[in-house]
Symmetry: C2
Subunit: 196 residues, 2 copies
Amino acid sequence: MNFCSECAHPVSLAIPTGDNRPRYVCNHCGTIHYQNPKMVLGTIPVWDEDGDMRIMLCKRAIEPRHGLWTLPAGFMENNETTAEAAMRETVEEAGANIEVHELFSLLNVPHVHQVHMFYRATLLDLDYAAGIETLEVEMFAADEIPWEQIAFQTVSHTLRFFLEDHAARSNGNGGYGFHTMDILKPRPALVAADAG
Amino acid sequence: MNFCSECAHPVSLAIPTGDNRPRYVCNHCGTIHYQNPKMVLGTIPVWDEDGDMRIMLCKRAIEPRHGLWTLPAGFMENNETTAEAAMRETVEEAGANIEVHELFSLLNVPHVHQVHMFYRATLLDLDYAAGIETLEVEMFAADEIPWEQIAFQTVSHTLRFFLEDHAARSNGNGGYGFHTMDILKPRPALVAADAG
Ligand SMILES: [Zn+2]
Ligand SMILES: [Zn+2]
């Protein structure tokens, strides 16, 4: 950020009165330009035919992680709820007709200023079609998930949580839970200690 | 938003190629300035002495809702997790020493572009002190909650969910759950119908 979006004068990093961290502050009109984390919302779209359960994944047509597989997900927009954002992204990326269920996972990714959330969802039919940000949409059985080609850690952890809950549920040992996790970047001090 | 924060030229509302909604786009450098919902994080700080349970509320010293009561909460910052944000806000607003537990509630407030989340928390002592955004910090028993003077609907719903779960738990009928809710503004059409 170089200029004030209100008055076009230059901004500087400064700690405003009563605040405790540097913000971009306009040198002319005094507007404080806060920067906050963003939410990424998605679904785990499932098709279950007589216990033969498959999960929808999308192959990314865009950077980052072009060509790798993800659950349908994207940035939440103003004026929508988390569930509406998850539904919209699933329609945009996979052309999928779904029913959205409960929130299933919430994962913090603080070093990129993001919180990722995934809802469980049921596919209403198999008439899906890749959107413009997707190369290919495919349904995967539990033992077919391409673990080495998953685009994001938040997606692989969510898939793992889901398959664990699904297996427990199939065995009569519980239902789907709500899972939280923090994806922390390895800290320099720890990396140095490991290397030493 | 009037000007580009990168190059200081005027911005216009336009739908970028491949997008489906208006964004502020710079007429000079082409930067698209996305605007996304913000997260508000807080805690439900509890002191329980031999079953005599009390909840901490803060009387707001700032607008909006100056003089009304809230759970300690505020905007999540970059570079922190949701739990860290909830802890920080509780320290800043109430000077409270807490242990943060599980995420308890997530409430959408789409008309103000916010998602509110509250963590359950245990007070480690009663050495709290109002921060600069707080007039007064007080501990309330379940039957003392000032329901008519709660600052935000997300807070009153979270308190209600919490007291329901706490009562069920005390009676051996379950534990603390995870609760989601959408706070939707009454829609003009519905208001008109009610008035007719
Ligand atoms: Zn300015
Ligand atoms: Zn520009």
